[in-house]
Amino acid sequence: MKARIVSREDAPKIVDLLRERGYEVIAPFGGRGRDTFFEPVTDENRGRIQIHLPNPDYPPKRYVFPPMERLLKVERRDGELRIEPTYDEKKRAIFGIRSCDVAGIYHLDRFYLGREFADIYYEKHRRNLFLVNVACTDAEMDIGENCFCMCTDTGPAAREHFDLQLFDLGVDGRGGELMAVAGTEAGEALFTSAIFKKAARAHLERRRVILEEVRKRFKPTTTSWFSAAIQAVSRGEIPDETWDEIGNRCLECGGCTYVCPACTCFTVTDRAVEGEGVERLRVWDSCALSGFTRMAGGFNPRRAVHDRRNRRFFRKLAHYFIERELSMACVGCGRCVAVCHGDVGMPSVVEMIRRQTAQRKEV
């Protein structure tokens, strides 16, 4: 990989480089309190770009898989049916995407492009997306109390699947320099800019030291029992009582699936458009909802909430899918914890599985 050094002051200029190259640049900004969200960079907010801030709960997957997306436009004219696909091919760059989210995008690549069929809408979003990953090195700002990328091996610094990675070489994000690493040719192409200086061996060493330090700053959660959970789920060894308890605490809001960087389900709906015929939209959907599997005629194989919770964690953790997609559908971002009403996000469920299968085995 190619590495360079860029000063803290110059780092936001990467945004300008990208804008000059025709990208709409998205970056995280602060809202009220600790709220943050991804927003396009404009001249107005350009000055407020930060390297370190809490990762927004609304995930950046929306730039390759929007919450609502028009697939087709259909018009009837003179007895003829005109069916036209509509694509979004805007060039976008995300400046400040976290390593967990980079792994999430990679997982979506595997799912939407790497399985039986390729999704052209996804492909067009993805081909035009440039990722500037910021490694999480500021324990205060970057590492949330729900983060567990250490357990999913997706952070705090991604090893691949980004175009450019920025790694703050300062202590707790207060250093004067960042290391920029190119992950693709497109990323490397930016290095022609004068803001990038050569990196020395000492910089690499500094990066290594900081990374090791930062790893210790994560909350010691019990989600390091991931492998036990994967095995238990894959073998169908989890007692019904566990799913019952999880189902009892779930309020069926769908939040976990909407915020998950690696969740992919959607539904399709036709809507009349005034004066324009009909549009076919795809909108995010969630297996948490009971209508997700309901068939016309009333049969619903997952009517009960605990069956749906079982389904979610099977899809996330079963070994079959990890093998098939060469990627796990959980990136350790912790968002499902943040939005869950009943505290049945991934870490809690993994812990419950560990505890209950351990108890069983003690017999």
Binding site: G31, R32, G33, R34, D35, T36, F37, E39, P40, P54, D57, Y58, R62, P66, P67, M68, N248, R249, L251, E252, C253, G254, G255, Y258, V259, T267, T269, R271, A272, V273, E274, L281, V283, D285, S286, L289, S290, G291, R294, G298, V305, A338, V339, C340, H341, G342, D343
Partner: protein
């Protein structure tokens, strides 16, 4: 793309929500992490707010009925028509021939101006809201006993409660953010007590689940009070310094016998005792009940307040009473006077000095005679009493409680419907006025924990549409009122003058923070997290019965023990609301996912349903989806059975929308408080 913080307008929690827009379209919605009430969480409805925008069904132009058909006209013509008709009707029949009903989803600005229009311009107190039938009792009892008709504490404090009692309301489906807060509190060590006949989701997490027989709440709380008294767990300091009429209450409580009550309620005496100890012995305990979707008797609400007073659970964090308002602005709508017998701020219409204050502010003479409520206006149990009706975002044809509304609406001389879509009642309307929707206007709403919040404008409304409040103001001007409101914030300013506990809130400070919980006044510019705090007179702005001892016990006559059901009719029929209620909601109807979720019941049971417990069903040979017969002493009805373990064994639940069943069983008295003994049988093939 832009991101704007706003308030979700589905239920009474009022979650902080961000709307993401692209161009003139709302394209995404997600929670605010830092909002004190929801702290990063929203429910399935909040997650789908973005799907509603730009529905092709929106009404785009005002309409007036000509020759039997609604025709699009100009705003000038529509409002002119209304003004003329109203004047004529008032001239011929008097001001009380006109009535004004709004929805508990209407904004504060809409609600305030509508009741002001009725009182100051037309001259009638006939103003009410669609849920009045449910909330009247709560308002009256709370005002009587506490002086305040609202939840006393904040949603954000639930994590500090040692004990939480949830009475009757299915939090998981109705107010999920509160449901989540309650579950998480329990996971962190709080004792969760659930009381009610239905075993809903949150009940599954309860430490103590008192699945009582229907209608026995007052008995239960009386018995709990007795246990607290017997064990000396009452807060004597609080009672002596802040409460009146304790002696009568105490004498009355002594008549409760725990074992007899246990039998009447159908729950173990030990369970009642444990609940009483958990509630009475806690340093801070919360009790919540629904003030908006369940018909509760006054006595059952009195019993709840008595319990809170007895244990001193008012005036400290993590304690208190939540009179939950399930619709997003039921609190605001009542605060601002959409009540036939109360002015903005809850002062009675009959109170001369209160009227005088309004007269001075509005430069008019507010009528002294209280008005009639929604039931009377809509002709429940007889002839409708009004000739003209204004319906603001409210479609009574879908409110099953009110009998043959369509028939009544047809007889009106003037029906004005203000709404986003052509609802069923537009079929009878003389005028339809289309309004702006969520996100297209800047207005305020008040949550169930008194939080006045802004819901801002994030997109442009369709061409020609204006906010409902603006239309009412314009109409007022046409009828001679000297009203000058340039923007919604001007209405809020006047609200502050009319309602002392809103006086410190203005758009500027509401926009800066996460709203303001009232009382918000000059002396409390940041609002009030919980009422009646120590050293806190509670705010002089709140109506007071007795400045020194503001709380009052009310002895609830021990309910006569209900005779056990006759052998021939061993089950008890209960009437209530079902989630079908949400099917009329704008958001639900226009979001693909929500529509699918909420319609499942309707599609699975196209003829409607009546709910029965699996044990009872099995005993009678009744199968899910098949017809069953309900046999009461004097009546029979048939309906499709829905078998669910949520229903208490021994009860049969009839949703209000099953009108025929209601009419057949209850007959013309239509009193759905009645608990009817029945027998169930499967319908012969």
């Amino acid at each position: 793309m832009a991101h704007q913080l706003t308030t979700c307008t589905f239920c009474g929690v009022g979650c902080g929500l961000y709307l993401e827009t692209a161009g003139n379209r709302i394209v995404g919605s997600y929670p605010s992490v830092s909002h004190p009430s929801n702290q990063g969480r929203i429910c399935v409805r909040g997650w789908h707010v973005h799907e509603v925008a730009s529905s092709p069904d929106r009404v785009k132009h005002p309409c007036v009925r000509k020759n039997g058909k609604l025709e699009e006209v100009s705003w000038d013509e529509a409002l002119g028509f209304i003004a003329e008709k109203m004047k004529a009707i008032r001239e011929e029949y008097g001001a009380d021939a006109l009535g004004f009903l709004n929805s508990p989803r209407c904004s504060n600005e809409e609600s305030y101006l509508l009741q002001k229009f009725a009182r100051a311009v037309i001259g009638t107190n006939n103003v009410h809201h669609g849920t009045g039938v449910y909330s009247n009792n709560s308002i009256n009892v709370l005002l009587d006993m506490m002086g305040v008709a609202a939840s006393t504490n904040s949603i954000a404090e639930l994590g500090q409660s040692e004990t939480i009692v949830v009475d009757g309301v299915d939090l998981g489906k109705r107010l999920p953010t509160i449901g989540g807060a309650v579950i998480r509190a329990k996971l962190k060590g709080a004792r969760l007590i659930v009381v009610g006949t239905r075993r809903h989701r949150v009940a599954e997490s309860a430490d103590l689940f008192l699945q009582i027989k229907p209608g026995t709440e007052a008995l239960l709380y009386g018995a709990m009070a007795k246990v607290i008294v017997d064990r000396g767990l009452m807060d004597l300091g609080f009672i002596k310094t802040r409460c009146r009429d304790y002696a009568e209450f105490l004498a009355n409580i002594r008549e409760y016998d725990l074992l007899r009550v246990a039998e009447s309620c159908g729950v173990a005496a030990s369970l009642i005792e444990a609940a009483a100890l958990a509630y009475g012995g806690a340093k801070s305990a919360t009790l919540m009940f629904s003030a908006s979707m369940e018909e509760r008797s006054r006595d059952s609400i009195r019993a709840v307040v008595n319990l809170a007073l007895l244990s001193g659970n008012l005036g400290k964090p993590g304690a208190g009473l939540f009179a939950l308002t399930e619709q997003n602005n039921l609190q605001g709508v009542c605060d601002l006077g959409m009540l036939p017998d109360r002015l903005p701020g809850y002062k009675p219409v009959t109170d001369e000095s209160a009227r005088a204050a309004m007269d001075a502010l509005w430069k008019t003479r507010v009528p002294a005679q209280p008005g009639i409520g929604s039931r009377a206006m809509l002709g429940h149990r007889g002839q409708g009493k009004v000739k003209a009706l204004w319906l603001s975002r409210y479609d009574p044809t879908n409110t099953a409680l009110l009998g043959d509304v369509a028939g009544q609406l047809r007889q009106l001389d003037l029906l004005v419907v203000q709404h986003l879509f052509m609802t069923e009642c537009s079929n009878y309307a003389h005028v339809v006025l289309p309004t702006t929707a969520f996100g297209e206007e800047e207005v305020t709403f008040t949550s169930t924990d008194r939080r006045i919040q802004l819901a801002g404008q994030v997109v442009e409304p369709p061409e020609g549409l204006t906010p409902g409040w603006e239309q009412i103001a314009e109409l007022g001007r046409r009828m001679g009122a000297d009203w000058k409101y340039g923007a919604a914030r001007d209405v809020m300013e006047e609200i502050g003058q009319a309602v002392p506990f809103y006086s410190g809130a203005d758009y500027e400070n509401l926009a800066r923070d996460y709203g303001r919980q009232w009382p918000c006044t000059k002396d409390r510019p940041l609002g009030t997290r919980y009422l009646f705090g120590e050293g806190d007179g509670g705010g002089e702005e709140l109506p007071r019965n007795d400045a020194e001892r503001p709380f009052k016990f009310v002895a609830v006559p021990k309910p006569a023990e209900r005779a056990a059901n006759p052998r021939a009719f061993p089950l008890t029929l209960v009437f209530g609301n079902s989630l079908y209620y949400w099917n009329q909601n704008v958001l639900v109807r226009h979001s693909e996912t929500l529509k699918r979720e909420y319609r499942q019941l309707m599609i699975d049971y196209p003829q409607g349903f009546v709910e029965i417990n699996p044990e009872d069903a099995e005993r009678a040979g009744i199968r899910d989806g098949k017809r069953m017969r309900l046999c009461a002493a004097n009546a029979t009805a048939a309906a499709t059975a829905r078998i669910t373990p949520e229903v208490r064994s021994g009860t049969v639940f009839v949703p209000h929308f099953m009108r025929e069943v209601g009419q057949q069983i209850l007959g013309s008295s239509g009193d759905s408080f009645r608990l009817v003994p029945v027998r169930v049988e499967k319908e012969p093939a």
